[in-house]
């Protein structure tokens, strides 16, 4: 049995790659999948914080690559889930300290034990990006709907098609239906018009999501969070299920009810 390696990337920083990775991991485990999260952002590691696993880290991916420990030793188990592990990045090293080949080798081992391996890519399109993309079977592009994020996402898609021959999927993050309805912001259709790739899901803007990130509890583990529905839907689509897109534009009681039940 081999799993799928999915790299989450964006080009621009701060659009929610790490949050998306953490929540997607949590949502996938809740759907009964075995998941390993890999932080490829060496030197600026964040995924451990967002997943609330910082204090458990002993070894990191560079230790594995350089043979100072086994892969099993470096994996950090998330106690809230059945099968969710984190392979942390080194904070004291540099992105050039791991090669794309080493990363691919690590991921080849990981897919033997997990259904999904999610790689949190660093921002930018330099060495760290190549390292994160090299092992990927699939790529998720996270973007918000503002100009600079879209432009960078467009460039990343171009690079993926040119150098890596991959067709990515799109996650629109921090989507604000109120601004779209008032005509001041790009809607989902406009974003898809520009980027022209498959939409994997839309995550509405939610300030409590920021708080849960800060606390180290992925929203997908928090039953009170509505936004967890969005991640659950993305996870289902990643697993190949056909989930209709939630209609964020519909107002009124029925729209509210529909959003609560994630339809």
């Amino acid at each position: 049995m081999t799993g799928t390696v999915i790299t989450v990337t964006s080009g621009k920083g701060g659009v929610g790659k790490t949050t998306t990775t953490a929540n997607l991991c949590a949502a996938l485990t809740q759907l009964g999948q075995r998941v390993v999260a890999v932080d490829a952002d060496i030197g600026l590691r964040n995924l451990d914080l967002v997943m609330g696993l910082e204090n458990r880290i002993v070894y990191d991916s560079i230790d594995v690559a350089e043979g100072r420990c086994t892969l099993q030793q470096a994996l950090v188990r998330d106690p809230r889930a059945e099968f969710l592990y984190l392979l942390p990045a080194a904070q004291t090293r540099d992105k050039t300290d791991i090669t794309p080949e080493q990363m691919s080798k690590i991921c080849q081992q990981l897919v033997n034990i997990a259904d999904y391996v999610l790689i949190d890519s660093p921002a930018g399109i330099e060495h760290g990006f190549s390292t994160a993309i090299a092992p990927a079977d699939r790529v998720l592009i996270v973007t918000t709907s503002d100009v600079s994020a879209l432009r960078d996402a467009d460039k990343v898609i171009y690079l993926l098609e040119r150098d890596w021959h991959r067709q990515p999927g799109l996650v629109i993050n921090r989507f604000n239906p109120r601004l779209v309805n008032s005509g001041e912001m790009r809607g989902i259709d406009d974003v898809l018009d520009i980027l022209a790739i498959d939409l994997m899901g839309v995550v509405p803007e939610d300030e409590r999501l920021m708080l849960s990130t800060d606390r180290g509890t992925p929203a997908a583990f928090d039953r009170r969070m509505q936004v967890r529905r969005a991640y659950e839907n993305i996870a289902r689509r990643v697993m190949g299920n056909n989930v209709p897109l939630t209609d964020y534009y519909r107002g009124g009681f029925r729209g509210w009810l529909a959003r609560i039940f994630g339809r």
């Binding site: 079977d137 432009r151 467009d154 460039k155 898609i157 171009y158 040119r162 790009r186």
Partner: protein
């Protein structure tokens, strides 16, 4: 997403089925080999036929220069119509059995990028023996078992080295004899490293490839003009010449064109996107370069021909042509038509909203966003959405909707050209 490598395999696996025929008829074919001008293989036809005949009869040909074999192989491939399951219907050239020499560009399109030939080495004529690496297993060169009847070992056998070092070198430079000539594939690694390995291997081959024409397959690697020149220089040093550059990188394609090489641009799956010979033989302005797909931010398309884009040009992309630029889609990037000073060039698009548009030496910029509104070019779908044509009228770029431009437009096109 994940299917692309898969589909690549199927694409290349497909053309196998012509191979039995290939064998049975190879002897007849070799007798009437005609001068294969197609792949820039200009080796003497007579020697080619001679060697091939020897080779087909199984006898080693120690006296004749073996390097003319690629040209023979090319013509063999030519005599066969495109094999049935090839997925590129639109672009594939007519079978061209006896229709004279087709255009160089077309010929290149017709050549399958990686003819998967799972032949046993015993079946092969000796001159093809070092070819046919079944799937491209870079790790170890499968040296043809006991199939080196000739005095000089095929270079792939490169004796006297530890297999590790050999494998590493093979990952950098892979020299293959294929049905369409000698192909040099380069892997990842610095260019100087690759040239070093190439030099070494050519030295080992001791003139085996002399006078051969080489197809350089660089995959997606972007190369600049200097790197290609260096490569050609190494080949010249060993009395070989660079025939064609195959690439799936637009940058390399442009570089090869710029220094006057024959080149093919292929999609990652190996389907040809474009083939071009240097502008000298290709009457540039009259022909069209067709690009299908999205031109995304950071993509630069520069050609001497007219350009037709079927798809969108996104903001941040640049399209430069010495002729017209036509876009069946949205034009929102930077375009420059008539780049060499052709003031009659036009720009036309279904949705013409460029960030910046230049025709010959005249430049316009898109209007600034209205205050309080997000930027125009990444804004919503445009409101009017009518096809428009832009051209120069008295040193100004004028935009006209297509139906307004049409009746008087053709006249004014002529007038505007003055």
């Amino acid at each position: 997403m994940s299917e692309s490598p898969l589909s690549q395999e199927t694409v290349h696996a497909a053309p196998t089925n012509g191979l039995p025929a290939f064998h049975t008829r190879i002897a007849d074919l070799l007798d009437d080999v005609t001068a294969p001008a197609m792949l820039a293989a200009d080796a003497a036809t007579a020697t080619a036929a001679g060697v091939a005949a020897n080779a087909a009869s199984g006898a080693p040909a120690p006296d004749a220069p073996p390097s003319s074999s690629p040209s023979t192989a090319v013509s063999v491939a030519n005599l066969f119509p495109p094999l049935p399951a090839r997925p590129l219907d639109a672009e594939s050239p007519p079978p061209a059995v006896d229709a004279g020499a087709p255009l160089p560009g077309e010929r290149l399109v017709g050549a399958p990028r990686r003819p998967a030939t799972p032949l046993s080495a015993a079946n092969l004529p000796p001159f093809l023996a070092p070819s046919s690496p079944p799937p491209p297993s870079d790790a170890g060169e499968s040296s043809p078992p006991a199939a080196s009847p000739r005095g000089e070992a095929p270079p792939t056998d490169a004796v006297g080295e530890s297999s590790d070092a050999l494998a590493a070198a093979n990952q950098l430079v892979n020299i293959k004899g294929r049905s369409d000539g000698i192909v040099v594939e380069v892997g990842r690694g610095s260019w100087s490293e690759i040239l070093g390995v190439l030099t070494k291997r050519l030295e080992q081959s001791a003139g085996f490839f002399r006078n051969g024409s080489v197809a350089l397959d660089v995959g997606a690697r972007p190369l600049v003009e200097d790197e290609l020149r260096q490569f050609a220089a190494v080949l010249t040093q060993f009395e070989m010449k660079l025939g064609v550059v195959r690439t799936s990188s637009e940058r390399t394609f442009q570089a090869a064109l710029a220094i006057g090489m024959t080149t093919t641009l292929e999609s990652p799956e190996g389907a040809p996107v474009a083939a071009a010979t240097p502008a000298a033989t290709n009457a540039g302005a009259a022909s069209y370069f067709v690009y299908r797909g999205y031109l995304r931010s950071g993509h630069r398309l520069r050609r001497t021909e007219n350009i037709l884009v079927i798809g969108d040009i996104n903001p941040g992309a640049e399209v430069i042509s010495e002729g017209d630029i036509l876009v069946w889609g949205r034009l929102r990037g930077v375009v420059h038509a008539g780049a060499s000073g052709n003031r009659r060039a036009i720009v036309a698009a279904l949705d013409l909203e460029p960030t910046q548009m230049r025709i010959a030496d005249v430049t316009t910029i898109g209007p600034d966003p209205k205050p309080g509104q997000p930027g125009r070019f990444f804004w919503k779908r445009s409101q009017h959405k009518r096809p428009e044509i832009a051209r120069l009228v008295q040193n100004e770029i004028v935009l006209e909707e297509w139906d307004a431009a049409r009746p008087g437009g053709l006249v004014s096109l002529r007038r505007g050209a003055g």
